[in-house]
Assembly symmetry: C2
Homo-oligomer: 135 residues x 2
Amino acid sequence: MKHPSECIFFNLVKAGKKASRFLKNEVALLGLTSIQTLVILFLFYQDEITSAELGKRTELDSATMAGVLDRIENMGLVARRPNHDDHRAISVCLTDEGQMMAEKLWDVAEKANTTFLKKFSKEEVVFLKGLLNRL
Amino acid sequence: MKHPSECIFFNLVKAGKKASRFLKNEVALLGLTSIQTLVILFLFYQDEITSAELGKRTELDSATMAGVLDRIENMGLVARRPNHDDHRAISVCLTDEGQMMAEKLWDVAEKANTTFLKKFSKEEVVFLKGLLNRL
DNA sequence: AAAAAAACACTTGTATGCAATTGAAATATC
DNA sequence: GATATTTCAATTGCATACAAGTGTTTTTTT
């Protein structure tokens, strides 16, 4: 390593920030952040899961998840419901408003993916995602 | 996009977090975070630069930079010195203690890079870095 | 030279990111 | 069946991330 800019940790953190900023700008009109968007997209794919399960899928720990849920719950997009199978757990559910928001977010996210990856060929995208998933 | 886990923003944010956590664990013994480490490595490569210049190189905005510098300055690793060419600016300099720390950090970072990328061939690493830099 | 615009470092406020801890409930062990 | 361990959701404390704004100094424009 001859220069810190060759450090893989720097490269990956930088790329993550760039991605987060880009998505944030795309969803800013809807009043959400990039992380709130990702949480809602995962709920849109599968609803009524526990906070722990949602945390595993989105890669958010329970401390961060609590805050994110507080905020999107206050916006009326999700609801915390008691879980009858396990009294320690909660079920996180999209409200009707949350469902409508999720549909909009899905469209925005798909377009943003395309725009963000415009310069890359399909093969490059597949290769990039494959490498990232192996980290 | 059939599943939110295919979203490039999710992939990149996740990879950035994984990288940050890995480096953080490697440098934890030295009492530093991953971002503090990267800032010191950039200073080790070129010392006595302004906060703005350091921010450009490390991709930290001035608000974040102020906090990071406060902390590593309190540890005695860097010093803020007046800039005689531009009275608005400051010069950020490694102290003697900071120099010694930087040498240790460089070694740790090099080893961590190797460990983190163990599964990947040289060609894959070059390709990955190339793709990340084009984002 | 005077006025306007830009750059520099910093602060504030809000949103993650994460280690460590808490209290309650479920599971494992004995 | 009583006890120990684990799991769940949440909180606290500290470290980024970043938009917006401040006061000071420099540069540009007129």
